[in-house]
């Protein structure tokens, strides 16, 4: 019965979504930066050259198919070699290639020049989220996809920015040359915003560089482009370009939030607050693997519902979350989550889904365990 309503719901939504959006796009975006414009121009140039060559070659073929058919009484000619023409159709393509290579080289050289940048942001790929670190500004945060599971599973109408929305956007000032440094904490990811024309792999052990200079305020959306595991399709990049003043104000608000979080780690929390906060942390950081219902995926990600760890020794539970389990995809969350968040998520895991241990873990306990 439940399955039947679900199928009916999916079909209904498929119909609605089929009707409600017709904004498809056929071509590459010219974007907003000099890179994306350069890529677009050279893309169009090469494409038109190909179209012209295609018209000539396919035209000759179609003419021949129409005219030189046996059914029309065509008799086969006897030529099968012609050195002049063969040399000509080797040299002409060569010249065309040179004509393409020159502008391509020019655009490429401009892109690779990261000198004279005015600020730097370190971008780190994680399975499956991005971390942004504003070098020298003391601001850093994670950026997770915020599209709810209900939309993905078709139980809710999909929003306008389906799969292209995050909890914390990367914010940059307009008209500043921003240097980006890419690396990864686990597997290879690729940070890509089509409207900037920047796609760079973020590779563990490497630091790759690129830069952007965005002329207009606005929100720009992209995605992880390199297969990085199960939730590769759910790793959007969202960048907001703001005016210089707004950017500075945003930096201040980030610092204020960080200070607040540090203060909250000092105080003692009620169990209800821990459970609320824990559920939030669990949904963004853990549910991708251990699943929202705590049951995990058989043989891939262990369930936490009724697990020996979640019901057993608290110190071991905290340790697994801070230090991870090496050699598995259970990463060390110690650097990603603050004491309050870890305390909250441990409390949550020990009391949700019928794990009624009644245990309450305080930020101070986590601090002591570090």
């Amino acid at each position: 019965m439940r399955a039947a309503t679900r199928v009916a719901g999916i079909l209904g939504l498929m119909l609605i979504s089929g009707l409600s959006h017709a904004a498809y796009q056929l071509n590459m975006t010219p974007g907003v930066t000099s890179f994306s414009q350069g890529a677009y121009d050279i893309h169009m140039m090469v494409m038109w050259i190909c179209v012209v060559i295609g018209i000539v070659v396919f035209g000759a073929m179609i003419y021949s198919i129409v005219k030189h058919r046996k059914a029309k009484g065509a008799v086969a000619a006897d030529f099968h070699e012609n050195t002049t023409i063969e040399v000509v159709w080797t040299i002409i393509p060569f010249l065309i290639l040179i004509a393409m290579a020159i502008p391509a080289t020019r655009v490429l050289l401009a892109m690779e020049d990261t000198s004279n940048s005015e600020m730097s942001i370190k971008v780190t790929g994680y399975q499956w989220k991005w971390h942004y670190d504003y070098l020298g500004e003391d601001v850093s945060f994670f950026s997770n996809m915020s599209t709810p599971m209900e939309q993905i599973e078709g139980m809710e109408q999909k929003g306008e920015n389906y799969l292209l929305e995050v909890d914390n956007k990367m914010v940059i000032p307009v008209n500043k040359k921003v240097r980006l440094l890419f690396t990864s904490n686990d597997v290879i990811h690729a940070w890509w915003v089509p409207e900037f024309g920047v796609k760079k792999d973020s590779i563990p052990g490497y630091i790759n560089e690129s830069w952007i200079e965005v002329p207009e305020p606005g929100i720009y959306r992209g995605k992880c482009a390199e297969l990085c595991g199960q939730y590769h399709g759910f790793m959007p990049v969202v960048v907001e370009a703001k005016s210089e003043e707004d950017y500075v104000a945003w930096l201040d608000s980030q610092r204020a939030m960080a200070a607040e979080a540090a203060a909250s780690a000092e105080k003692t929390w009620t169990q209800a607050d821990l459970m609320n906060q824990g559920e939030k942390v669990y949904k963004t950081a853990c549910a991708a693997c251990h699943q929202a219902n705590g049951e995990g995926l058989p043989n891939v990600f262990p369930g936490l519902k009724g697990s020996a760890v979640a019901l057993g020794d608290i110190a071991k539970h905290i340790d697994i979350i801070i230090n991870g389990v090496s050699g598995t995809s259970m990463q060390a969350f110690g650097a990603q989550l603050n004491d309050a968040d870890i305390a909250a998520v441990v409390t949550y895991e020990r009391n949700a889904w019928g794990n009624d241990t009644g245990d309450v873990v305080q930020p101070a306990d986590v601090k002591a365990a570090r």
Partner: protein, 530 residues
């Protein structure tokens, strides 16, 4: 030379029967048949996976399968299509046709031939076993894409990665032995008077392909062995935390991978170069430039591998080198296309099914070549890389290129293999459905790719919905049309209008001097080529 071969053939020129005929076969035709059937079966296995992928992608949202299973499907689909469909089909065609085309009784190394084939069911058995286990809830099948980039496939690989590694090893041994056999046959067993520059182009393209195989399959074996060491013996070739280098993996993989894509197209070039002259009733235009173009493509294919890695952060000098070198490949490829068109020019053409597939090949492969040229422009590739534009590109060259070439070859030679003509009406129906649906399937992928849809994703944002729905419709029509092909092949095997030895009015070459069906041991006395 040929005297020796005749002697060894004296005492087993009877046709063995029963299962032993196939298990212990040393006959080039029987082994060729087994390769071709193996490839055909894998085509349906890999094709079903593609249909699962396309069904999930019909609409945005997750409807049918989990993301984890989606990744297993793309991985196995890619591996099976490349190593289980295209490559075995080519080896099957070479087994059947190379001895007949050069006037030899059989392949030079018949026992090795048997072994190369029988390794394949083992290799794919291992790979498919990992999927069966995954379906039974015991871990995951390989899920890191057919390119299996480290560290996703090493530190983060599922335990079935070891099945995958051994499977690749077996495929590699099989391919290397197959290639050695083809080279030995071509070098030693040509009929008197058949100089290298008189060999049919199909033989030439396979000769060059065989050298590519011998050069790069060991590199593939090397890279999977390094993975095995990293996974189980504490080395850190590709593990940055241990001082290794994940980008090294990509260099080694693509040093194999780019020549591999030419391994998957050169024999089809050869097939098309046999078919077009037959049905244009005119000699191939520019025979020697065809041979030189093939050789230049093969050479260039070794120095362009990093065009798959423009976004890894190579130094700009490296990017420029690989961009220029890749552009050069367009020249010999262009020469081939121009020569085919000139062969058709002022011919006297008829349009039987093999010719229809050959013409579609020339059109659609050329489109794949154009997108290839676009992809090699590094600054534009930053936008194209890892999007559906690439998926469109490689399906134009692999499906409407390599696979169409194979289908053309099967229709062209099946009368010689079975002694019966295939059903022309069904052949044409198969052709038109396939040619139209493959464009409905793959052309829209260009659009979604340019619009920004990454590849290997199980779900996508709303602006890509229309063209994905269209591609899925094309995919199902394409998939089911292949059943017509299967039916037609089975029907031809059982009977039909008897074929003459020449089969096609315009056919030329030694294979058409043998009766249809060709005798069990092709040329027991070598013909003389003038």
């Amino acid at each position: 030379m040929s005297a020796v071969i005749e002697e060894t053939h004296e005492h087993h020129d009877h046709k063995p029967t029963g299962i032993g005929r196939w298990l212990f076969s040393t006959n080039h035709k029987d082994i060729g048949t087994m390769y071709l059937w193996f490839s055909f079966i894998m085509f349906f296995v890999g094709g079903s996976m593609a249909l699962v992928i396309r069904a999930e992608l019909f609409q945005p949202g997750l409807q049918l399968i989990e993301p984890e299973f989606f990744n297993q499907m793309t991985t196995l689909h890619g591996l099976i299509m490349v190593f289980g469909v295209i490559m075995p089909a080519f080896v099957g065609l070479a087994n059947w046709m190379v001895p007949m085309m050069i006037g030899a009784p059989d392949m030079a190394l018949p026992r090795m031939n048997n072994w190369s084939f029988w390794l394949l069911p083992g290799a794919f058995g291992l790979l498919i076993a990992s999927l069966v286990m995954s379906l039974m809830g015991m871990g995951s099948a390989p899920n890191f894409g057919w390119t299996f980039y480290a560290p996703l496939s090493t530190t983060y690989g599922p335990s079935s990665t070891d099945f995958f590694i051994f499977s690749v090893h077996l495929m590699g041994i099989s391919s290397i032995m197959g290639a050695i056999n083809i080279i030995a046959t071509i070098m030693n067993m040509r009929a008197p008077g058949m100089t290298y520059m008189k060999m049919p182009i199909f033989v030439w393209t396979w000769f060059i392909t065989a050298y590519l195989l011998i050069a790069v399959m060991p590199v593939l074996a090397g890279v999977v062995t390094m993975m095995l060491m990293d996974r189980h013996f504490g080395t850190s070739f590709f593990n940055a935390a241990g001082g290794g280098d994940p980008v090294l993996f990509q260099h080694v993989f693509w040093f194999f991978g780019h020549p591999e894509v030419y391994i998957m197209i050169l024999p089809s070039f050869g097939i098309i170069s046999q078919i077009v002259p037959t049905f244009a009733r005119k000699k191939i235009f520019g025979y020697s430039s065809m041979v030189y173009a093939t050789a230049s493509i093969a050479f260039l294919s070794f120095i362009v591998w990093a065009h798959h890695m423009f976004t890894t952060g190579m130094p700009v000098a490296g990017e420029l080198f690989f961009m220029y070198a890749t552009m050069l490949i367009a020249i010999p490829t262009g020469v081939k296309v121009f020569n085919w068109v000139s062969t058709m020019w002022k011919g006297s053409m008829t349009f039987e099914t093999p010719m229809l597939f050959a013409i579609a090949f020339i059109f659609l492969f050329t489109i794949g070549g154009f997108t290839g040229l676009m992809l090699c422009i590094a600054p534009a590739d930053f936008q194209y890389h890892d999007t559906y534009f690439v998926v469109a590109h490689f399906h134009y060259v692999l499906v409407t290129g390599a696979a169409f070439g194979i289908m053309a070859g099967v229709y062209y030679w099946i009368p010689k293999w079975t002694g019966n003509m295939y059903d022309e009406k069904l052949g044409k129906l198969h052709f038109w459905l396939t040619a139209i649906s493959s464009n409905v399937l793959f052309f829209p992928m260009h659009f979604v790719g340019l619009a920004g849809m990454p590849r290997r994703i199980p779900d996508y944002s709303l602006q890509f919905a229309e063209f994905n729905a269209m591609a899925t419709v094309g995919a199902f029509v394409f998939g089911f049309s292949q059943l017509i092909f299967l039916y037609n092949v089975l029907k031809t095997q059982r009977g039909g209008v008897k074929a003459t030895s020449k089969v096609w009015e315009g056919a030329e070459g030694l294979e058409w001097t043998l009766p249809s069906p060709a005798p069990f041991h092709s040329f027991t006395t070598p013909p003389t080529v003038k």
